[in-house]
Amino acid sequence: MVKLKAGSTQSSGEGGVKRLRKIPDSAPLVGVLLLMMIIFSVTSEYFFQLDNFKNVLANAAVTGIVCIPSTLLIISGQIDLSVGSAAAVSGMLLAQVVNHHGVPLGLLSALIFGLVLGCFNGFIVTVIGVNALITTLGGLGFLYGVALLIGNGQTLGMKNFEWLGTAQPADIPLPILIFAGLAIAGSITLRYTTFGRSIYAIGSNPNAARVVGIRSKRVIFQTFILSSVSAALAGSVLASQLSSGDPNAGLGLELQVVTAIVLGGASLAGGRGSIFGTVLGLLIVGVLNNGLILLDVPTFWQRIAQGLMLIIAVSFDSIRAKLNQSRS
C-alpha cells in the first residue's frame, strides 16, 4: 500500500511536470493580457468597445510592422537600434517626394531608402565585422540628423496620401492588416522555412551553425535588409496617418520594439523567441498604455506602471524558465 502510494505520488509528480512542460511558453503572457483586459473592462466604461480595440491595434500596428523582422534579428543574436530614425527619414523622404513627384515615387523612394540602409547595416556588420549594437547606434544618430536635414528641422506636410495610414477595408484599419500580414508571414518563415530555422541556429550557436554549413553572414545580411525595409514601411504608414513627415516621429521606436520583443519571450542573447510572443508583448504594452490613458492615470504614474510591468513580466518569464529547467 505504502509503495503503491509512493509510486502514485511520484507518478502524479511526473505528470505535473509533464503538464507544466506542455503549457506553452506564451501562456503567462496570455494570462497577463487577459487579466489586464478584465481589469480595464471593469474599471473603464470606454475600454470594452470595438472602436477602442481598433485604436489599440492601430496604434500597435506601426511598432508591430518593425517588430516582426526585428524579432528575426534578435533571435539571430543581432539588434537594430536604427529603426526609429530610419522610420523618421523614410517619413520625411516620403513627404518630400510625394509633394513634388506623387505617391508612387514617394513610396518607392522610402522603400528603396530602407533597402539601401539595410544593405549598409548588413555590410558593416557582416563584412566589416562591426558589432551590430554599435553600428545601428551610430545609425540612430546619423539618420536622425538626416531626418532633420531633409526638412531643415521642420515637419513636412503631405497631401493626398492618407490611405496607407487611414483606409479601412472591411472596416479594419489598413495598418492592422499590414501588420497582421507581416506577422503571419514572419511566423511561417520562422517555423517552416530553412531561412527561419537558420536564424534560430545562428542565434543559438553561431559556430555550430557555420560548421553545419549555414551561411550565417548571408542570413544576417538579409535580416538586416528586412529590418530596415520594415522600418521604412512603418515610417511611411506613420507619415500617412499624420499627413506629414516628422523628423521626431520615430524617436524611441527602437526601445518600444525591443520592449515588445523581449516581453514576448525573446532572448537578447539570441536563439529564443517567436512572432506570437512578440505580438503578445506588443498587445500587452498597447493595452496597458490605452487602459492607463482611459483611466486618466497621471503621466508620471503611467511611466512608472509601464516600467514595472515590463520588469515583472520578464522576471516572471525568467522564473518560469528556471523552474522548467530545474525540473527537467
Binding site: Y46, G153, L242, N248, I293, D296
Partner: protein, 339 residues
Amino acid sequence: MKAFSKFRAGAITAVAIAALVGTSVLPANAGQVDFRKPVPGSGKGITIGFIGLADSIGFGKDVHDSIAREAKAAGAKLVFCDSKLDAATALNCAKTFKLKHVQGYLNFQPVSSASAAICKAGPQVPVISIDIEQDPCQAAFMGADNSYAGQVSGIALGNYFKKNFNCQFDSFISLEDYGVGLVNEARMGGYRSGFESVCGAGSIGDKLIKIDAGRLEPALAKMKDALTTLPNAHHIIVVAINDEGIQGAFSAAKAVGRAGDIYAAGQGASASAWCDIKNTPNWIADTAYFPERYGEIGVPYLLDLIKGKKVPFHLNIKHVAINAGNLFTIFPAAKSKCA
C-alpha cells in the same frame, strides 16, 4: 518650447516703424487678452479635453496644472491626455476624446503639420490650439506671440545698453534652436528688432554671432568656445531662445572667469529660472510667458465656445519683461523660493 505663431502684418509694420524712428515703445499687438478666472460652476456638466505638450517638460506641466486647476474651479470635467511631444500619441489622444465624448478640447500637440489628421480623428467639437496652429479645426489660437516676446526683452536690453554703454557692445551672440524653425526666427528676430528699435537700425550688423545651442548642455559647451574667440571683449550681449540657453551661457562664462563680460536676456521666466534672474547681476531681462496661468485663458474661452458664444480667434498672452527688480512683484511665489 516648440511654438508656432503667425506673423501678423500689424505687428511687423509696427516693428518696422519702431526700428526706423528708433523709439523704445513696444509695438501695438493685436489679439492680446487678459487672464480671467472662469465663473465658478460655469463648466458644470461639461466635459472638456486637453492634449498636453509633455508633462515631462516644466512648461508643459505648468500649462497642464493651470488648465486642471481652472477646469476644476469652473466645475468642468477635464480629460487629459499627454502627447509626450509625439504627434502619433496626440492622434491617439484625439481618438480617445471621441470615445469619451468630450464637448470641446484644448490642443497643445507639437506637430502643426499633423493637425489635420488629428482634427479628423477627434470629435468634431470646438478646439482651441495652444501655441501651435491646429488647422483646420481650431476655433481660436491662444498662447505665445513669439515675435513680440523677443522684442520685449530686446527692447529691455537696448534700453540697458543705451543707458549704461551708449549702445556700445562687442558682440551680439544669439543662442538659437534651428529645430523649431519659425519660432526660432520669430523669437530671435524679435530680440534684434527690439534692440535695434532702441539702439538704431543696423546697430547689430556684423556683430551678430548665431549659435545653434537652444539647450543647457550645448549652450554650456559652445559659449566657452565663443568666449575663447572674443578674448578682449567685455560687453557681450547674449540672447537665447529660452532660459536654459542663458543658464548655460552664464555657467560657461563663470567657468572661464568671465561672468561679468556677458549681458543676457532670455525667454520664459519659468520658475526654474527665477532665482537666476534675481541673483545674476548681468541677467538684464527675461520675457515672461506665464504658463502657470494658461488655464485662465484656455478654460473660460473654451467653455464660451462650447456654449456657442463668440470668441476672438487670437487669444495671445500679454508678455512682460522681467528683471531682478520686478520679479517678486510679478511672481510673488518667487519671493519664498529665492529669499
